[in-house]
Subunit: 250 residues, 2 copies
C-alpha cells in the first residue's frame, strides 16, 4: 500500500495541545502514504476529537507510539529533521520541504527517519531543534507564515509522497548519495556527546557551570556531518584513548 | 504583501458543509499569499467555527464573496480549474498541483483565475466539472486518496506560492548559505588535521606506520561538514587542552 521507503519514516508530534490536530495529521499522513505516528506527551490522547478528524486514518492513531520525551522518540533514528518556522540565533542547515523529502528518501534505505513537529503555539524549543540534523521550513507568506500544525505535516508528507513516486525520479535521487555505511543512530550520537563532554571537562576546556554554548556549537558541527557507524567507532575510540592517557588528578 | 499574480487568483468553495473547513481554507490561503475567497451556497456562514479555524486570516472571511451558483462565482474568470479526486466518465485535461500552479501563473497576467473545490463528501458534480477548463488532481495514496477539503486547498495554494516565488527555491537556497561565521580556510583545516594526528599518536590511537586509513576517514568526516572559524577555534582549543593534560611519557 505504501510507497517504497515511506514506511520507515516517522512523523513525531511534540506536546500537541489540540487532539484535532493529531487526527488531522494522521489523515494527512495516510493520504500521502505514511503510517508511523509518534506522540511525545500529547495533551489529550486518545481523544474522540482526534478520531473524528482522522476519518479513515484511525488505524494510524491506534498504532501510534506515545512516549515521554523527544529523545525517546528519535532514539533509533539515523536522520532527524525538525520543522522550524523562525530563524534562530544559531543558524542550522535549513531545507525546503522538497529538499527535506529528497534527503529523507535518500537516507531511508539504511536508516529510520524522524520528522519532528512542535507545539501549535511555540513550535519546537531551541533545545529540541538542536537534536535535529536539519531543519525544514515551509515557504509561506511573510505576512502570515504560521501554518496550522496538521497543515505543516501535510505539506511535508505531500512532498515526500511526490518524491517517492517512481515518475518523480525518486530512484535517481536515491542514487545521489550512496554511503558505504549505516548512519549512527541518535542514541549513539547522544552517547558520543556525553563522552566528549566528560573529556572536555577533564581537560578543563569545558565548565558545565559556564557552558558558553560550547556543547551547542559542537552539536551543530557534528549534527550537520551525519556520522556513520564506523566514524562513530573511531570518535569513541579516540575519546577512550585520550581518557586513558590523561594525568591523574583529583 | 502577496506574491505578484496571486492576488488575481480566487479560491471557490462549492457547498461546503463544515464551516471549520472554510476557516481552515482561509488560513491556508493567507499562509500561501492568496486572498480572494468565494463561497458558493455554504451551509453555514458566517460562523464562529470558521472564524476560530481561520486564526489570523479572519480578514479573508470578512471579504469573502458569497454567491448562489458556481456560474456566478466564475463569471469573470478567464481560467477555471476544478479539483477532482476521481477519474470521471468524461476524460478531461488533468493537471498535477504543480502544473496547475504554472498554468494559473502563466495566465493570471491577463485573466482572473478561479480554482474550484467541491463538497466534502461528493466533490464537484460532473456538471460543475464541465464548467472547468482543466481539472487538478492531488497525487495521493491509492488506498486512501480522500483529502480533507482544507488540505486540498492548502496543497494547491502551496504549489502556487512555490511557483510564484521570485526564483523557485531561490529563497531557501539563500537561507542555506547564510551562516553566522566565515568558513575556515583550507590551510586552517590542514593544521587542524596535523594537530589532531599528533594527539592521536600521543594517546596511542594512531600509528603512522600502520595507519589503517584512519586519517582518510577523519578527513572525510570533517571534510563534508564545512567547519566555520569559530568551530575551528573550538576544535583547536580542545586539542591543546587535551595535550596539556596528557601523562608525560617518553
Amino acid at each position: 500500500m505504501n510507497e517504497p521507503g515511506l514506511g520507515n519514516i516517522s512523523i513525531v508530534l511534540v506536546n500537541t495541545s489540540h487532539p484535532g490536530n493529531i487526527g488531522a495529521s494522521a489523515r494527512a499522513m495516510k493520504n500521502m502514504g505514511l503510517s508511523k505516528l509518534v506522540l511525545v506527551r500529547p495533551k489529550e490522547f486518545p481523544s474522540g476529537v482526534a478520531t473524528g478528524r482522522a476519518a479513515s486514518a484511525v488505524d494510524l492513531l491506534e498504532q501510534a507510539r506515545v512516549v515521554d520525551s523527544l529523545g525517546a522518540a528519535i532514539a533509533d533514528s539515523g536522520l532527524v529533521i525538525g520543522a522550524s518556522a523562525r530563524s534562530r540565533r544559531i543558524p542550522w542547515p535549513l531545507l525546503t520541504p522538497e529538499q527535506c523529502a529528497r534527503q529523507a528518501l535518500t537516507e531511508v534505505t539504511g536508516n529510520r527517519v524522524a520528522l519532528v513537529f512542535g507545539r501549535e503555539d511555540t513550535g519546537l524549543s531551541n533545545e529540541e531543534l538542536r537534536l535535529c540534523h536539519y531543519h525544514v521550513r515551509i515557504p509561506a507568506n511573510p505576512g502570515y507564515s504560521s501554518l496550522n500544525l496538521a497543515a505543516a505535516v501535510l505539506v511535508v508528507c505531500y512532498e515526500l509522497h511526490k518524491a517517492a513516486l517512481p515518475e518523480a525520479g525518486g530512484e535517481a535521487a536515491a542514487a545521489e548519495r550512496e554511503w558505504d555505511r549505516e548512519m549512527a543512530t541518535s542514541e549513539d550520537v547522544e552517547r558520543f556527546y556525553e563522552h566528549l563532554e566528560r573529556v572536555l571537562v577533564a581537560v578543563d576546556f569545558h565548565d558545565p557551570k559556564n557552558p558558553r554554548q560550547l556543547m551547542h556549537r559542537i552539536r551543530r558541527l557534528f549534527g550537520r556531518t551525519r556520522i556513520d557507524v564506523m566514524e562513530m567507532n573511531i570518535l569513541r575510540g579516540m575519546l577512550t584513548h585520550i581518557e586513558n592517557n590523561l594525568t591523574d588528578r583529583d
